[in-house]
């Protein structure tokens, strides 16, 4: 049950892109075509699934206060958590290098289409963000961390897939010249984020307030009518020819 809850929470409620804007750079840059978006999304799922549990182990056995007790009782007082940024990013960079080598070997076409963006996964905020959120939310066990990494990856994948599909269609629409490209993508993403906020009450039955980033708990308080019109707008965008 815990696993299912965490899965849906990370995919929909705490979606990397729509709730925290992580990984926006590659999200905006690689979402022009659905096929490349799928490739990058898959790479992100994979890297997140590997790095979050790895960093969980690092956090548990090296970084946290008292984590070094397995070395001996005299190490119990060390708190190395200030090193977490540098260790996390080193793990991530290594893993990305590995993925790059594997993809180049087994799928040259994917490698060519991802081009420059594969190394950029290393600096994709969603990857480091996954590890940092894992640390700050005190994820309790290894398999929960694995689940968290995988489901955040799925959430990111869904987001980039959706925006790529919309952008392919919006090419045929009459967008005001100054908004073309980046501007309209921002605004669509904003509308999609508003749509995703309607998932906020999914796991609490809508009764409790979801804790938003600002800690104000405003997530659940929006007028439902606003949400439905905005989601309807997004879905008309999707169906638009």
């Amino acid at each position: 049950m815990e696993h299912i809850e965490l899965f849906f929470k990370s995919v929909f409620v705490d979606n990397m892109v729509f709730a925290y804007f992580l990984g926006m750079c590659s999200y905006l840059a690689v979402s022009k075509k659905v096929s490349t978006a799928v490739g990058l999304g898959a790479a992100v799922i994979f890297v997140l699934t590997v790095t979050v549990p790895l960093n969980w182990l690092l956090d548990q056995y090296i970084l946290q206060e008292g984590a070094l007790t397995w070395l001996g009782p005299e190490y119990a007082e060390y708190d190395l958590s200030f090193l977490s940024f540098i260790l996390f990013i080193a793990t991530i960079a290594t893993m990305v290098q590995l993925v790059e080598i594997v993809v180049e070997k087994f799928s040259p076409s994917l490698y060519n289409s991802l081009g420059i963006f594969l190394p950029l996964i290393a600096v994709n905020c969603a990857i480091l963000g996954g590890s940092l959120f894992m640390q700050s939310r005190d994820i309790a066990s290894f398999d929960l961390a694995l689940n968290y990494g995988f489901s955040s990856g799925i959430g990111w994948f869904l987001a980039i897939l959706a925006i790529a599909a919309i952008r392919e269609k919006i090419r045929y629409s009459n967008v005001p010249p100054a908004l073309r490209g980046l501007g309209i993508t921002f605004i669509i993403t904003g509308l999609m984020a508003i749509g995703f906020m309607s998932f906020g009450g999914m796991l609490t039955g809508g009764g409790e307030e979801t804790s938003s980033l600002e800690g104000e708990g405003i997530g659940a308080q929006i007028d439902p009518t606003i949400e439905t019109t905005e989601t309807a707008e997004v879905s008309t965008l999707i169906t638009q020819e």
Binding site: F18, A19, Y20, F21, L22, G23, M24, C25, L28, A29, F82, L83, S84, F85, I86, I89, A90, A93, T94, P119, L120, A122, V123, N124, C125, I127, L128, G129, L132, F133, S136, R171, P176, P177, A178, L179, R180, G181, L182, G183, I184, F186, I187, T189, G190, L191, A193, I194, M197, S212, L213, E214, G215, E216, I218, G219, Q221, I222, I226
Partner: protein
């Protein structure tokens, strides 16, 4: 600008408008949006990024001839991570509340695409002084957008600036609220950051037609 030659001045001023890292180069959006619900965290974030970028660009530019190109990403990440740890520890020591509020987003400066982007595009190929100017200029351009977004979101969302009420008291119905003005609670929510940035892009590109994209 007497200190700077014309070319150097351009390095510093260009990223503020026509080559803005957020609205034109599409870099560094990741951490830019989540913390702009209020003005204060936006400014702290802008200053932190300026420090990391200025110093980082200088360090990378000094090392540019000895970094093997194959492992340059890892070297860059280590340099940025070190600088960000410094920022994080300083904030924790002197502004604990604020560092709690910014939570993981200080750490995410490491993966801010602006920093890696400028290292790759500029510091690896240019001298120290010019790299420093480029870093400061780009961080200022980034900070400018952050401050604009933070200003509008805090003003329209909560009717305050830096936490001080500027439009009157919504409970006592003074100032603007006396004539029926209401705070737009929607502005405080995360999605509005995207839409505000979208509008900034719209305004900027309407004023400068050369920036309009094909599609």
């Amino acid at each position: 600008m007497a200190l700077l030659s014309k070319k150097d001045g351009k390095l510093l001023m260009d990223p503020l408008a026509d080559n803005n890292p957020i609205t034109i180069q599409v870099l560094g959006i990741c951490s830019a949006l989540a913390i702009t619900a209020q003005l204060k965290p936006s400014i702290v974030m802008a200053i932190s990024v300026m420090f990391v970028m200025g110093v980082g660009n200088v360090v990378i530019s000094l090392m540019r001839n000895i970094i093997p190109s194959k492992i340059r990403i890892i070297v860059q990440l280590v340099v940025v991570a070190t600088l960000v740890i410094i920022v994080d520890q300083v904030l924790k020591a002197f502004a604990y509340e604020l560092s709690k509020e910014l939570s993981v987003f200080i750490g995410l400066i490491i993966t801010n695409c602006i920093i890696m982007g400028r290292f790759e595009a500029f510091a690896l190929a240019n001298g120290t002084w010019r790299s420093f100017l480029d870093g400061i200029g780009n961080a200022a351009g980034y900070g400018l957008i952050l401050v604009i977004v933070g200003f509008f979101r805090e003003l329209l969302g909560s009717g305050t600036l830096f936490g001080f009420p500027v439009l009157g008291d919504p409970v006592e119905k003074t100032g603007l609220y006396a004539i029926g003005y209401e705070n737009n609670g929607f502005m405080v929510l995360p999605p509005m950051a995207l839409i505000v940035v979208g509008i900034i892009i719209w305004v900027q590109r309407s004023r400068n037609k050369a920036l309009i994209e094909e599609n």
